[in-house]
Every structure is written in structure tokens, then in C-alpha cells.
């Protein structure tokens, strides 16, 4: 791990807050391509599969089989809705436990059939609802984290919009993590973070800046492998161009991982090594 925060240690000023917030607005643009829009443009022969095989089919998570170039892959994605009806049906992309179990089903299926996995992350956060809690949302997320860290085949994730909290982690823990230029990964939504940190959800822009949500930081910290550029203005301006920029990067990383024989042990090692400790602290601990 190298590098730290590119700014001095002070509360983010208004300009920094505005700059950080611009990315968030683009990532939430109503015309932004959602997972199925990019799956359609980056993959071929996509066949959606339905259900967790345990009694539920959560439309907030889409799973399926497809080809990336010549290579068969398993696909798992957060799916937001475009229309009012679809937003409701897909719960704004926020899964219930059935959705996380559906993702687990895809990871198991891919392991059994020796298929690499591609995931698309676009989730505001884990769903803050009674039913999700009653049915063990936390347990479902924990088990999905475990399923990713035991998946025996190569795995590429791409954050295409919002990557919020434990909900994002459920489909993020890949061998290669790509992030679209205006997408972000965060411990909590900027609104939630602002409510906790400043006791004022209205200071979401400052929270976004303080949390250093710019995609390039994830690469600097070794959490993501690459920022994938979007068309000028953002992905919403041109879905085809966005897919044209993304597809070759997915193919390149998957080809690399297949050649390297990426496996679950290497993936666990990657996430075991996430540190977040200052270099000095790490050194003294290892001494």
C-alpha cells in the first residue's frame, strides 16, 4: 500500500466538497446505464436465471449465464429500475436476503461448472427495512462474502454506479476490481455518513469529500485495479460508448486472471492484505 490522501488534514472546504459531489451526481443520474444495459452491450447470449432455489426471487439482483467474447461466464448484478413500476419491483436495486442468496447460488453454480464470474455493482446500500432484518439480512451478507472468498474460478467485479456499504461488498470481492470513472465505493451513503459524522444529512457533500470517494483513490489504495473512463460528461451521455470502453477492460482482466489461474486462496490473500494501517503502525506491529 502506498500513498495517502492527496489533500491536507483539514475539514474539506466547499470547493473540495463540490468536486467530490459532482461524481456522486453523475453516478446517480437517472439516465445512467444500469447493469442490464451494460450486460446487453458487453456480453452476448445472456440468459437470466431466476430464484435463490430456497423460496424467493429477488429482482434487485440479477444472475445469469453469458459469454464475454468467446469465454462463457456467470453474471451477478445489482439492478435498479428505470420506471416507477420497475423501481418498486427492484426495490431501487437494494436486495433482500433472497437476493443475496440468489448471488450465492450463482457463485456455487459458477464453481461447479468452472465458469469465471463477472459482477456489476450498483447499490445505494443494504436495504434499511423490517423484512430484510427479520429474514436475516446481516447473515445473508456474511454468507455471500464467504461465498465469494471460496469461489474457485476467476472473478472480475466492476462498480458501475453506487457501491454502498455491506450491500456492495456482497458482489465486490473479486480478483480484479474495476471502477467506472464516476462510480464510487463507500462505507455508507454520503447522506448516512453526514448524519452520523456531522449530525446533519444535508452536509452530504462534505461527507463525500471527507470519505475520499473519488474512484482514483481506490486504485491508489490497492482496493481497485483500474478506473475505467466514461464518455465525456458521464456514462449517461452514451451507453454504447460506455460499453465500448468497459468491454475490452473486462476481457483483458479476465484473460489475465484465467492465464494466472486465479483461485480462492489468492483472493482471500488479497482481502487479508487490505490494511488501512499507517506504514509506521504496520512496521512496528511486524517488528
Amino acid at each position: 500500500m502506498t500513498g495517502g490522501r492527496p489533500r491536507p488534514a483539514a475539514a474539506p472546504d466547499a470547493a473540495a466538497a463540490k468536486a467530490a459531489w459532482d461524481h456522486i451526481e453523475v453516478s446517480r443520474h437517472p439516465d445512467r446505464p444500469y447493469a442490464l444495459d451494460l450486460i446487453e452491450r458487453c456480453l452476448s447470449d445472456f440468459t437470466e436465471l431466476h430464484g435463490d432455489r430456497q423460496g424467493g426471487d429477488d429482482a434487485a439482483i440479477v444472475i445469469g449465464l453469458a459469454r464475454l467474447g468467446d469465454r462463457p461466464v456467470g453474471v451477478v448484478a445489482n439492478q435498479k429500475g428505470r420506471t416507477l413500476e420497475e423501481r418498486g419491483r427492484r426495490n431501487f436495486g437494494m436486495a433482500h436476503p433472497e437476493g443475496y442468496r440468489k448471488a450465492q447460488r450463482l457463485f456455487r453454480l459458477a464453481g461447479r461448472l468452472r465458469l469465471p464470474v463477472i459482477s456489476f455493482i450498483d447499490i445505494p446500500g443494504a436495504y434499511p427495512g423490517v423484512a430484510a432484518e427479520e429474514r436475516g439480512q446481516a447473515w445473508a451478507i456474511a454468507q455471500t462474502i464467504e461465498a465469494q472468498l471460496t469461489l474457485p474460478t476467476p472473478y472480475v467485479a466492476v462498480v458501475i454506479g453506487e457501491g454502498g456499504s455491506g450491500g456492495a461488498l456482497a458482489t465486490l470481492l473479486a480478483d480484479a476490481v474495476l471502477v467506472l470513472e464516476h462510480a464510487f465505493l463507500t462505507v455508507a451513503s454520503p447522506e448516512t455518513a453526514a448524519a452520523i459524522l456531522f449530525r446533519d444529512a444535508g452536509r452530504k457533500q462534505h461527507a463525500a469529500a471527507a470519505l475520499c470517494l473519488e474512484a482514483e483513490n481506490l486504485v491508489r489504495w490497492g482496493i481497485a485495479d483500474e478506473v475505467v473512463p466514461e464518455p465525456p460528461g458521464g456514462a449517461h451521455t452514451d451507453w454504447d460508448a460506455t460499453a465500448e470502453l468497459l468491454r475490452p477492460r473486462l476481457e483483458a482482466h479476465l484473460t489475465r486472471l484465467v492465464a494466472a489461474g486465479a483461485d480462492a486462496a489468492a483472493r482471500r490473500e488479497r482481502y487479508r492484505r487490505i490494511d488501512g494501517l499507517a506504514d509506521a503502525a504496520t512496521r512496528s506491529a511486524q517488528a
Binding site: P8, W139, I141, A142, L149, L197, I274, L277
Partner: protein, 296 residues
């Protein structure tokens, strides 16, 4: 008493608001006030009752050192990872500097961060023991907490000793941003070493166990035990109500609520926790690992 290098083990729980001022008074015996029913008890009673209120049964929040005192065989605890402490990777400032919050918590709780880990014996069984400290920034998951947790787990896998983790955590530590989030992955990655070594993980959930803690390592115990009426869940009830306006069912997010739904094996009162762990360890501890078995 337990061998420690930090605070005395008889030190009153830092969260007992009345304990410290009262303890300083030479004129009266020190007291403890239940944070739930506000009944005043002598500190001697509170200690003997393991900070379970004799009046209302509240299992009050206790610090990591007190938890170790309650669970480990006397004198058996030896802490791991010295001073490995949180780092301010984001140089985070909200209403205060994160480094100032950390320094204050370290001083107050006599811990480098929100978890205490070490080798211990429980009923003679050698275990790795981890205890979260809610008084340290809400027991939140910093990178250092995740690292301590992972090292403790891996030590247990290597030594083929059961891992016992008592969680009391609000979840992520906002000030460490995405590094905090990824401790969920780090802890689960480490837990796989226990699975590979066929070493058991006993997860004890106490008030509160929320967010990233219950959505990662804490939910993956081979056996999951909770203290009565602990608040356990991913999203806090207040946020759920604010966002969805949903009515909360009775007993929402309590230990008993999750037990009834098959998510927790047992709800165990604090005085019986040690003997419950010992009974499980008699079955699960690898052969030959238990020596010098003593009475519970």
C-alpha cells in the same frame, strides 16, 4: 486475578456513569447505577453480578477487560499484538480530528483500539479470546481492529485452538471510510483458515452487535450465542423508521427475535455464559488441547 499489562481488572466499567466519581469518594462505598432502571447498587454487588442489574436484569455493556475477567480462567489471559493501533489513513476531520478522538478513547479505555485479543483458558481449555470494547468509539471496525481480529483467528488456526469472540460493536468506523468496510472481507478471509484447520469458532453477540460486524465474522460462528435482549441487526431501528416509516414488530432486532427465527443458537444469561462455553469446548476442543481442566 488475570495477568494484564493495562488497567486493573477490577476497574469499574467505564460506561457505568456513576461508578468512577463514586469510587473516588472515600466516605461512601462505591456504587453502580443501572443505565436502564437507574437503580443504585453497590459496586461490589455489580461486580459479583457481572454487571447484570439485580433490579431489572439488564445485561449492561461492559468493557473488554471486564469481559475477559468474567470469561477467562483467573491468570490465564495473555494479550496479543501489543500496541497495534488505528491509523488515520484518510486524515479524517469531521467536527473533530479523528486522531483526537482516537487519543481520547485510548486514554479512557486503556486499549489501543476497540478490541482486546489474546490467549486464554476457559475451564482449562486453551482458546484464542477476542473481546470488543463498545466504549472505544462504539466498538467500531477500524483497520487495526480488523487486523487484530484476523491475527487472532490465524493464531487459533495455527495452534488448533478454538476461537471465542465476544462482539459489542456498532459496525463500521466512518472515519476510516472504505478501509473500515473492507475489514468485513478481511475477517471472513481470515476465518477460512479456521475452516481449513477444522477449528471451531464460537461467536458471542452482546449489546449491541450491528452493521458490518454482524454482516461478517460475527454471523459466521459455528455456534452463535447471544446475551439476553442485546440489540442485533444490520441497520439500526431509528434509521429504518426514518427511511421507510415502517412499524417495528415487538422485540425487533433483539437476541430473542433472532433466536426465534433460527439465526442464533442460544440466548444465554451472563452468569451462565462461561459454563455454556465450557460445555461446548468439552465437545469441540481438539483432542489433547484441554489440559488442567478446572471446575466452571
Amino acid at each position: 486475578m488475570i495477568a494484564t499489562t493495562a488497567s486493573p481488572t477490577t476497574r469499574p466499567d467505564p460506561r457505568g456513569p456513576a461508578a468512577t466519581p463514586a469510587a473516588r469518594s472515600a466516605a461512601r462505598p462505591p456504587t453502580w447505577i443501572c443505565p436502564e432502571c437507574r437503580t443504585r447498587h453497590s459496586l461490589a454487588t455489580a461486580l459479583a453480578q457481572l454487571y447484570v442489574c439485580p433490579s431489572c436484569g439488564l445485561h449492561s455493556r461492559i468493557g473488554a477487560w471486564e469481559r475477559v475477567r468474567q470469561l477467562a480462567d483467573p491468570g490465564s489471559f495473555a494479550k496479543w499484538d501489543g500496541e497495534l493501533a488505528a491509523a488515520d489513513r484518510l486524515q479524517f476531520v469531521d467536527t473533530r480530528r479523528y486522531t483526537d478522538r482516537l487519543a481520547e478513547a485510548q486514554e479512557r479505555q486503556q486499549l489501543p483500539d476497540a478490541i482486546l485479543t489474546g490467549a486464554a483458558r476457559i475451564g482449562g481449555h486453551a482458546v484464542g479470546l477476542a473481546a470488543f470494547d463498545f466504549g472505544f468509539l462504539g466498538g467500531s471496525l477500524s483497520a487495526a481492529v480488523g487486523e487484530r481480529l484476523a491475527r487472532a483467528i490465524e493464531h487459533c488456526a495455527g495452534a488448533r485452538q478454538p476461537f471465542v469472540c465476544v462482539t459489542s460493536s456498532g459496525g463500521a468506523r466512518m472515519q476510516e471510510g472504505v478501509f473500515s468496510l473492507l475489514q468485513m472481507a478481511k475477517s471472513v478471509a481470515a476465518l477460512h483458515t479456521l475452516a481449513e484447520a477444522h477449528v471451531p469458532f464460537l461467536s458471542v453477540l452482546t449489546d449491541p452487535t450491528m452493521g458490518g460486524s454482524i454482516a461478517s465474522f460475527a454471523a459466521l460462528g459455528d455456534v452463535i450465542i447471544a446475551e439476553p435482549r442485546a440489540t442485533i441487526g444490520f441497520t439500526g431501528a431509528r434509521v429504518i423508521t426514518q427511511v421507510t416509516y415502517e412499524e417495528l414488530p415487538p422485540g425487533f432486532q433483539t437476541s430473542e427475535f433472532h433466536h426465534a427465527r433460527g439465526l442464533i443458537d442460544h440466548v444465554v444469561e451472563r452468569p451462565a455464559l462461561r459454563s455454556t462455553l465450557i460445555q461446548l469446548l468439552r465437545v469441540l476442543a481438539p483432542a489433547g488441547a484441554a489440559t488442567g481442566e478446572t471446575a466452571a
